[in-house]
Amino acid sequence: MLTSQGTNVTNVNNIMKDYAQIAKTIRRDIIEMIYAAGSGHAGGSLSLADIFAVLYFGEMKHDPANLQWEDRDRLILSKGHAAPVLYSALARSGYFDPEYLKTLRKTDSFLEGHPAMKTPGVEVGTGSLGQGLSIGCGLAVSFIKRQTSQRVFVILGDGELQEGQNWEAFMFAGHNNLNNLTAVIDLNDLQIDGKVTEVNSIEPIADKMKSFNWDYTVIDGHDFDQIQEAFKKARLSDKPFAVIAKTVKGKGVSFMENKAEWHGKPIGKEEYDKAMKELL
């Protein structure tokens, strides 16, 4: 990541050699946090671990030592229930001591169940689905007016796209050609009540992006080369850009993968041990 000092920091923590290693650390954090909290959303956090590794440790311009840095890129986690993946990425990139992660959802912790402004590095509170892309549009408009090269990343769930406000925002961004705005769609095809394609399908999502005047690419959201390439395309595009990332909900923990019930189920001791063993 590029910091406010102009230095390129790709290796904040010496343990972190590469994206695969970072993503694994994030996944371990997610399991640790949710196990300690006794509740939380593992599935949709795990599906985003690889993308967050690339965003916070490569793609984004941000500086944990300078929270108010005016020229930083902004990330909005519209699917706020995936807070654990965000908190881990923030802690591991240096916003706060990873030890705090264990205080997730506890009274008086700054790690709320869903993102809140009081957490260092969180740009805005989210949690009621469908609101993040509009916020991203506001930031993107402001950056364009300031003629700055800053970028805005909004992380959306696929189920979340059933909320109508997203389409107001997609329309606005397309109409106003907000080419500094990138939406990541976490296409894991699961929502609480089952498969997105069965509950109320958002497909054909790529065609929808095209018809709303967005550029897009469809990638494997667990392939680091494809993730990096997608963000490069987004940077070069002269339109708002959607990264449609096909992911596996619960990715990295075998018994959680592609299981709707792991959207928000507490993690028991046995499950914790098994998951952590798989993530060694």
């Binding site: 402004m117 549009c137 506001g138 007016k145």
Partner: protein
Amino acid sequence: MTDIKKEKIANRFGYSDALLELIEKDKNIIVLDADLAKSTTTSRIKDKYPDNFIDVGIAEQNLVGIAAGLSLDGRIPFASTYAAFIAGRAFDQIRTTICYSNLNVKLAGMHVGITVGADGPTHQMLEDIALMRVLPNMIILNPCDVNEAYNATVQAYNHKGPVYIRFVREATPVLTSREDEFVIGKAKVLRNGKDITVISSGQILSNVIEAVQTLEKEGYDIELINVHTIKPLDVKCIADSVLKTGKLLVVDEHQIHGGLGTAVFEALMMSNVSAKTGIIAVNDTFLTSGAPDELIEKYGFSSSAIETKIKSLFNAE
């Protein structure tokens, strides 16, 4: 006491008057609208400062979200549309995005109240105070005329945090001047009296003043308070008055539940101040289409209806 001037202007023009002046000094202000720029008067900003104006189209949830995003980059957004659509339709966005993160976003709810008239109940917003009042961090301003609307807009700009301001469509009498002091959270005693306290705010205040002036000639000594800030409520000013008079009437052009009346009664009970009370409000019902003055009459907000209510409360034991 306040004079009712012959001159009538819709107080929404005070909003754009203030914004035109503020933008001249501060280009960080961005005025947003949702396809009602002529009605809300923000078309005046669009014409003079196009770079400081965004029309999002008919999309109020997005309107509020975009305003939120702008504020996160240090802009001061004024999101403007009909109260029914901003406070009603975008309630969750106002609650969860604006108020929870305590963002510096100003919301203008236009065309509130009975006098929207002919458009009917869908557009007569009579529930917005109740909705906005329960939100932590929210300030609610209810200006009575064009000049108070101007001052409310300027003070909303000066306040850091969310503010909801109410405006009406109809031209209403000018009651205040721009030079009058306007402090958020500080009610104004318009007339000192000892017999009964009458509280109101917004455009209906002109009918209340008319009633008080008539009764004054008949020898009633009424204390009249303009509560232009509904939240935070100036409890001390109201309680001091009620402790003196022992009788209180609230005239609240809003649903009876959750509006200014409820706010005042709650605050007095929580302060252990008791009084003989009365309220004129919309009695838990949707209204009908009709001419504004006819509806004001029909639903009990005419100055003569207010007079009658004051008298009956005055004579109550």
